[in-house]
Amino acid sequence: MCILAGSDGKSDCFVTVEPAETMEWKYQGRNSQLFATRTDSMIQETLDRYGSPKVRLIVGDFGALPFVIRARVEVALERALKERA
């Protein structure tokens, strides 16, 4: 079951979460090369906060500020974890 948060709006991002064997993520889209370090550490930190769940998380960036990405990732994880429970 793939959980989705966010949108493809101009300064937004979408986030998808689905169950996986390990914890993995992918940051793709507009700024994925320029902001790789910033975003990787942010996603890592967020996943840790949510108990390092076994999910595959994909962030598709359309030019979002980091707080937007963080908000979307959190909500996607919460929805996914609620779904699982």
């Binding site: 700024n31 090369q33 320029l34 359309f62 030019g63 979002a64 500020l65 980091p66």
Partner: protein, 521 residues
């Protein structure tokens, strides 16, 4: 080649392969030529015997008759912008004919000219003098081994280079939307009308052989206006199409509807008003970007409220400028490039919508170019730095993305230069510690206006006082940079391949301002 540090703090080469020695940028005021003459190159023009029929049956015949040989220089203008089809048709023919090692000069190569890469690879082209982007930019930044670096010039700088002979054009292919059998041509009339022929006019004067390329052969004599007269033109070729003028006004040339950009444009207008620049008889240039056009809208409302008539507007002319002219708000428009196909019609009906060539527009060495007479210039930017330097060429990822146009020329000449841009775009910060590529030096820039406040160059204490007295939101540029970076996060550094010099940025006076390196693949 050795690298030397120039007055902008950048390391630049002291010589370029295929070109010879070059001098480093010495500052925005060091423009005097040596000796103190503006020496115009000697031009040898082909003679056309009396009774010659200038109309060539096709492009191939025209090329054969032009005396073009391998290794020579050809030139084009980009007045049709992304709707241009002249370059494509000419290069295709040249390639079929087996030409090699030509030098390609153009006022700009745009995304529609991506195919030029194929002609580099085929050996047709061995050197380029033009602002580059898209596939051509990528080629120079990632693949090029054999061609010399591209010299990217401003419009004024290119005019200067042509006049002094640094570029010597053998054959100019000049697209025209209306042309008669003797070669009188213009871009103002005809189905493919694109407006001013400013860059073509310059090329025509300094080329050995001029071929008019048109899709609209008219009865002699061309009327009602001639932009390039017949005595400079050697041949006329008629094609089915020179391009699509509807693609002229694409890309960077529409007024913005974004509330953020409108807010920022309003701040720029407020700064202009506070400085007293919008006064009777003032002169104005706005870059073609959506934000600059919004600034013009606010300036216009102010001029209407206070019943102010300005002297002239310059550029890069857009439809909103024509409205200002026709309302009597400006006495004249000086148009070197029309950003709207309707400009041709305006030039025909408005006697003071003048068509000017690139040298008249911005050549810093002539007796008086228009940008030196400007009171205010409102210009865009890709990004800027805390020293007020402006980057117009390379994206955050380091790739060539755009051209310089007349930006450094306008900034260099205007009494008040205001650069407008949002503090971040699509999550990327616009103010850096140091721009990747300096195109317009900070010494030419008086203010950088963002939606979060106005940054005033410390050199301009007078402007700062005026802004503060008017209660404007003045902010320190370094603080704004830091605050924005706190919002966007820190970008990863771009990995350049410094063994590859893809292009050099030439300042208006011919000195080298900066270097564009290749990218690691």
């Amino acid at each position: 080649m050795t690298m030397v540090k120039n007055a902008a703090g950048r390391l630049v080469p002291d010589e370029l392969p295929g070109i010879g020695s070059v001098r480093p940028f010495e500052g925005v005021t060091g423009v005097a030529p040596s000796p103190a003459f503006n020496t115009i190159m000697e031009v040898k023009r082909d003679v056309v015997p009396m009774g010659t029929n200038k109309i060539a049956p096709d492009l191939r015949t025209a090329i054969e008759r032009s005396g073009l040989c391998d290794g020579m220089t050809i030139s084009f203008h980009h007045h049709l912008r992304n709707g241009d089809r002249v370059v494509a048709q000419v290069l295709e023919e040249l390639n079929c004919m087996g030409f090699k090692n030509l030098v390609l000069m153009s006022s700009a190569l745009l995304e529609c000219h991506n195919f030029v890469v194929d002609y580099i690879r085929s050996g047709l082209i061995r050197q380029i003098y033009a602002p580059i982007r898209g596939a051509v930019g990528d080629y120079f930044q990632t693949e090029n081994e054999k061609l010399p670096p591209v010299i990217i010039r401003t419009h004024g700088g290119r005019a200067r280079a042509v006049e002094e002979g640094s570029i010597a054009v053998d054959v100019a292919f000049i697209g025209a939307s209306a042309c008669d059998m003797s070669g009188n041509m213009t871009g103002m009339s005809g189905p493919s009308a694109f407006g001013s022929l400013g860059y073509g006019m310059q090329d025509a004067r300094f080329s050995r052989h001029v071929i008019a390329v048109t899709d609209n052969l008219v009865e002699y004599p061309l009327r009602p206006r001639i932009s390039i007269p017949q005595y400079l033109v050697h041949q006329v070729v008629v094609l089915d199409s020179i391009g699509d003028p509807q693609k002229l006004a694409t890309g960077s040339v529409r007024i913005t509807k974004s509330p953020t950009q409108l807010a920022l444009a309003y701040h720029a207008y407020e700064l202009m008003a506070a400085s007293g620049a919008i006064c009777p008889g003032f002169s104005y240039q706005a870059g073609g970007g959506g934000i600059s056009m919004a600034v013009t809208q606010y300036v216009r409302e102010y001029m209407q409220r206070k019943d102010i008539t300005g002297s002239f507007a310059l550029g890069g002319i857009t439809a909103d400028m024509v409205s200002l002219l026709e309302e009597g708000r400006f006495q004249a428009l000086f148009d070197v490039q029309s950003f709207d196909p309707a400009m041709g019609a305006s030039m025909l009906r408005n006697p003071t919508h003048y068509e000017i060539d690139a040298s008249w527009y911005a050549n810093p060495l002539n007796a008086g170019c228009m940008t030196h007479q400007l009171d205010v210039a409102v210009l865009g930017a890709l990004d800027v730095d805390v020293d007020f330097n402006v980057n117009l060429l390379t994206g955050h990822d380091g790739y060539l993305r755009s051209g310089m146009g007349g930006h450094p020329d306008a900034a260099g000449g205007a009494k008040l230069t205001v650069v407008v841009l949002p503090s971040f775009r699509r999550g990327l910060p616009s103010i850096k510690k140091s721009v990747q590529t300096i195109c317009t030096p900070g010494a030419s820039v008086d203010a950088i206006v963002t939606e979060r406040g106005i940054c005033i160059n410390p050199r301009r204490e007078d402007l700062l006082k005026q802004a503060l007295d008017s209660g404007l939101n003045v902010v320190d540029i370094e603080k704004l940079r830091q605050d924005t970076e706190a919002l966007t996060g820190v970008m990863d550094p771009v990995e350049f391949d410094e063994s590859r010099v893809a292009a050099v940025v030439e300042y208006r006076d011919g000195s080298i301002l900066d270097v564009v390196y290749g990218m690691k693949r």
